[in-house]
Symmetry: C2
Amino acid sequence: MQTVDEILRIKKVKITAVRTVVLRHLLSQEKAQSLKDIENALVHTDRSSIFRTLKTFEENKVIHSIEDGSGMVKYAVCAKGCNCEPKDLHYHFYCNNCNKTFCLFDVPFQNIELPENFKIQQANMVIKGLCSDCNH
Amino acid sequence: MQTVDEILRIKKVKITAVRTVVLRHLLSQEKAQSLKDIENALVHTDRSSIFRTLKTFEENKVIHSIEDGSGMVKYAVCAKGCNCEPKDLHYHFYCNNCNKTFCLFDVPFQNIELPENFKIQQANMVIKGLCSDCNH
DNA sequence: CTTTTGCTGCAACTTAATTGCAAAGATTAA
DNA sequence: TTAATCTTTGCAATTAAGTTGCAGCAAAAG
C-alpha cells in the first residue's frame, strides 16, 4: 500500500496537515466516507477545510465521489493508476442494512452499448442490497 | 400510453387533484424531473404537496427516483409492468452539457456477478457524458 | 528579507429536503 | 343525513448538506 505522502506526491497535490489527516482517514476506512463521517472522525479539523480538501483531491484524482442515494456524497480513494476515465470505472455497493458503501473493484465493468451518438465520460453505478455481513 | 387515472388505479393510489397534475406533468416530459422542475412547472401547487406526492408515488411504484449527481433527486414514471425489482432495472444517462437525465430503456441491463453472499435489491446506475443532441 | 501565493478556520449563507400543524376534503359508521 | 374518522393539502418553519467570503497564517518564490 502506498503511503499518504507518496500518493499526494504522485498526484501533484501539495502535502499539508489537513490533507494528510484526511487522506490517512480515507485510506484507513473500508467503506466510502461522507463529509460528515470525516468531520466526525477528525474533530479538530474544520469542516470547510475538509470540504475544500475533498474538492482538491477529486480534481487531482486522488479520490472519487459516489452518490449512493443516502443523500450524502461519499468519497473513496482511487485505486493505484486510476485516472477516473471510463476504463477505471467500477461498481459500488450500498448496503441497505448497515449503510456502508464499498467499491467493487473485483466486479468486472461491462462495456455498455449506448444509443447512437451518445458518449460516456463518467458513470456513477451503485448497486443496492445486502452485503455479505448483513445477508442472512 | 396509459392515462393518468389508469396508472393510479392500477397502482392503487387514490386519485386526487395534486396527484393527477404531478403525474400528468411527469408523463409529458422526456427527461426525468426534479422536485424543483415540477414546482416551477406547476406554479399553483404547493412544494410540500408535490414532495409528499412523489413519496407516495415512489412507495407505490408509480415512479422511480434517480440520483444523477446534479444534487437534486430526479423522478421518472415507471414503465408499464415495472415493479422496481432487479429485473426492472435500467441505466440512466445524464448529459453533462444539457443536464437532462433520461431512462435508457433500450440498453440491456447485464446481470452483475456480485461477490459471494451479496444480494442485489435495487440499483442506481447513471452514465454521464454527452447525449446525441450535445455530442458534436 | 520581502513579496506573493496558497491553505486554514471561522462564520455566514444557499439550496434542497423534510416536518408540524391546522384547514379542507373525502370516506366510513351510525 | 349526520357525526366521526381518516387523508390530503397548503403554509410556515426547520433540518441538513453543501458552499462561500474573509482575515490570518504559513509556505514558497523572488
